[in-house]
Symmetry: C2
Amino acid sequence: MNTQTATTPATHDAAQTAAAAAPARRTGGRSALVLSAVRAAVEDLVKERGAERVTVPMIAERAGVNPTSIYRRWGDLPTLLNEIATYHLDPARPLPASGDLRTDLLGWATEIIEHYSTPVNAALLRAGAATAGDTESDCLRNRRAEATLFVERTENAAVTVDQVIDHLVAPIIYRVIFLPSSIRPATAERLVAELFDRG
Amino acid sequence: MNTQTATTPATHDAAQTAAAAAPARRTGGRSALVLSAVRAAVEDLVKERGAERVTVPMIAERAGVNPTSIYRRWGDLPTLLNEIATYHLDPARPLPASGDLRTDLLGWATEIIEHYSTPVNAALLRAGAATAGDTESDCLRNRRAEATLFVERTENAAVTVDQVIDHLVAPIIYRVIFLPSSIRPATAERLVAELFDRG
DNA sequence: TGGCAAAAGCAACGAGGGTTGCCTTACGGG
DNA sequence: CCCGTAAGGCAACCCTCGTTGCTTTTGCCA
């Protein structure tokens, strides 16, 4: 359930478009071993040293793998980090659906906070922030899509999507990035309360 | 008015602590020229390529200066970027003081938005986010200090410092980092309204 | 105006990251 | 069980960053 998403072919340009048949991927045994070893190494190193002090050779050594394998499979350090970052918090996971918007948003916000409580995920978020800009990161775009879903399936919703982004997502992400020690599950409750209890 | 703050001595270890007298800095003429050339080069390059795709040799070439000069003066690329980042938005600038908290916060938020409307400042903020974590960046700590000032000088303030951070600063910073095209001066008005108009 | 020393320039070096060509291993289908 | 080939390992390479010792320029003060 998790291996094939990462086995991006790295697009071998010509050579491959010529052959009409499927190239017959190879996902088991050693490849899978390398994959998980690299993932584990990335998580360890990112947690230990922060995402921007990590290099490919460093990861390779920790994983007991040759650097070339990483370059060939992912091609790029940012690509690798992105792959790890979006690996958890699956976009297809079940979302809260209690029927009440406020309850759903509370559960959702709590989930996000828990996700970023792991140092790895927090560090990867920071790394993503650095390369953000016009091309909004996958991770945050997914959050916006989810917020839209919550609001739009509710009749006469008391809040707008923008308000959810500005007063629920933004404070959480802001604190994760800049004030990591200030964030705890209870923060979700306070933010949701402040979002809804208005004139 | 601006040259001497940047002339950090780079701490020449021993050699200098031995001499009791002041080392007699040298701030004018060529040094000042190099300083401003480097600053301009950094701003250009950061604006063009994003902060994390900029290197010291690159800056040196653009500025028509030897890389060694940069390394000796600043020692470090992050240090240099930080120096540029805090160069504007002077922490000693006059803050709004109308007597009304809401008016002050509106002016203040507008000021912050305008500041980060410049691509350079936005890019530097993103770079700062990457290296953030436990050691909260100077830039954002200053914002928190200012928010505290506003709230604490007001009797029976309608909002808390945390609320200002969560619902005014956080949304602005979040949008600057991840949704730069969505931010405009009017955003300040909306956020302030949403911050104050509650039960 | 002359001299001291701070700061810039120059050149050579070491180190580490990323690339490439070639060989070895071992999936996966027959 | 066996072959074809995808994927990993190895080694040599180049390139660029950052450091260092030395020389040259030039700001500042007497």
